[in-house]
Symmetry: C3
Subunit: 273 residues, 3 copies
């Protein structure tokens, strides 16, 4: 029951440590509060071990990485792993620069991520990055479509098996899978791509869902993706003439604020493969 | 007259230097503009001395501190003190990490803060932090309630006396006191806690109020707290079906934008103890 | 045709690399998306060369500069210049601190900026900063008004000639000129000054306009200024009772989101001198 996953977040109010980019950090904090979680931000190496220790989950986003924050990500990640926390990686821009690709690869080697969430281009970069991903279908296209859905699902399951992490590839069609099961999700609207940070917001919220649902993490990750897409649909229906992407951003967070388990359960559009 | 304090801000348009966290910095800037002040942000050690010199007030918030910004806080704080500026400390997360607690304690030793604003947990940490606060009631609870109000007021007055700063403890009931007088304020709504950064915004705005009302700082600090809470009430009355925390954030800043002295005077709910 | 300039942005969807301040960065990203561009942020010296290489334009804003980001600005600027990208400088706070003035002057020496956009105070600082600007009218006032318009236009053209950059001085009256032609623009509303970052947003959007209109950069810069001012007018007409600067901010970005070439062409208020 996906709907139950958001109810657990509202009940447990998980504290999530975010090491995230400064572009979308305010929206990440507000969507975490909207879904029932609680955000803390810290990216100073000297500070992160203490901060992550009082949290239940850790969200690492490399969107505006720098040498200091990468050091902090590694320290926090190791500490969070020792404590058994839910840990998520959002490899923003992997493939766009050597530093981002290398940082994401290093983090994956050093930290046992509960989930990795990105677009198809970023996830492909991680899968192919070290040149030894022979089992992975390198022909996977640049977007998940109805036509390449089968091979994309295989790709997700194989990469999940290789990494031991839940893999969430988000786009027009979202795929969230472990090595056995893949959720194919069709919530959301294309206009969400005209808002900065809907992906970052989803990563923050997904970390809260994982933290509050540790015994069914795959379902929790899928529930977060459905919730974000459904919020995009609900918010779109509340748009008035003249409203644009800035107002849409506010209304999406507002829709999460009001979303209960029943709404999520009934609005989620997915199949399991 | 609390109402007069906001009128002074609008008249004097104080320039406030903010060394604040990157999570809520945009909202801090917009609420400073909304109340009639003007914000400047700078956290580079080489830059802050010049920047703070052209301002009238300095707002130091340790929400996403790092080693560079802590250095900048100390340089700026000393310069602002030399110039007789209003200086405020928002010890975000004091008690949550050693670095935050230690940084806040060091800043308090080196800089003569006009006011220190935080939640009860943060302020208690500062009061008890160095182990020599025998005069302070260590039994003060984790929230200010009607039941423990007397001991909380005593705590605020004693900590104000010890530090020489105005102490502002904000929560469901707000206490703003110096060594002699404590304002007990009951404006605001609990839903404000579901927005990131209402505390940071208040700290920014309070710095503007202190800067524009240097001869009655205690009243100015109380006026800022009443203004923030009253804005939360006014904004809540303007919420429409489906609006959530993101829209509420905007409407609170909007309410400050329109608040005049009469509105504040009539809407402020406080007693002096 | 100014209207055509925004249509080119929507058609070409230019990717813009922003090294900008953390106060207004989210709004810069959203307005870039609103006008049809696409934003990337990176300020780490190790990362910026790769990131700027995949972009078409570079927006450098020194609003919250630090030693690391200044290094990144120089690296990115040189690489962008090699690649023939559109490069814009927003010298936020030049004149307010030695570091800001010196950084802006150094960047101007090392990087061939396509355009420099600031308020009259910042631009004057750059023009007078190195003490050798004998050709420049040092008597230019602190605001461009109907009374000093002629001398202000001369100032803009001479500084444009000296720098080889388009000079954009924005305020109540905007002047956008090269060495031969100066647009005098009268769009916008004074209430835009009560929102943080309308200047930063304009700089981001102008970079997208320049990137998508490389063969008529002066017109593109003027079109961006008209678009921003016109958005301020459209948004103001959509304000409801009780709305303030926070909502106004959202509505301005929304107005850009919906602006097409015809709207811009018809709403632009300018003369060429």
């Amino acid at each position: 029951m996906l709907g139950n996953c958001i109810e657990e977040v509202r009940k447990k109010m998980p504290l999530v440590h975010n090491i995230t980019n400064y572009v979308t950090v305010n929206d990440v904090a507000n969507i975490l509060l909207a879904c029932g979680g609680s955000p803390i931000m810290s990216d100073e190496p000297e500070d992160v071990e203490d901060i992550t220790s009082i949290c239940g989950g850790l969200n690492i986003n490399i969107g505006t990485l720098n040498q200091r924050s990468v050091t902090a990500m590694k320290i926090a990640g190791k500490r969070a792993a020792q404590l058994g926390h839910a840990i998520l990686l959002d490899p923003v821009g992997a493939g766009a620069s050597k530093m981002r690709t290398n940082t994401a690869m290093e983090l994956m080697k050093e930290i046992p991520f509960t989930a990795i969430r990105g677009n198809i281009s970023e996830i492909k970069t991680l899968a192919l990055g070290d040149g030894t991903t022979k089992g992975v279908d390198a022909d996977i296209a640049d977007a998940v479509t109805q036509e390449n859905l089968d091979s994309a699902i295989t790709f997700v399951k194989e990469f999940a098996k290789k990494t031991g992490s839940i893999i969430a590839v988000t786009g027009a069609i979202d795929l969230i899978g472990d090595d056995k099961i893949c959720y194919v999700i069709r919530n959301g609207r294309k206009e969400m791509g005209r808002i900065t940070g809907t992906g970052c917001q989803l990563s923050g919220m997904m970390t809260a869902f994982l933290t509050a649902n540790r015994k069914n993490c795959l379902e929790a990750a899928a529930a977060a993706v459905c919730a974000m897409g459904l919020a995009g649909e609900i918010a779109w229906n509340r748009m008035q003439e003249g409203d644009g992407n800035s107002t849409y951003r506010n209304k999406i967070i507002d829709a999460i604020y009001h979303m209960d388990g029943t709404t999520l359960e009934e609005g989620a559009k997915y199949e399991m493969r």
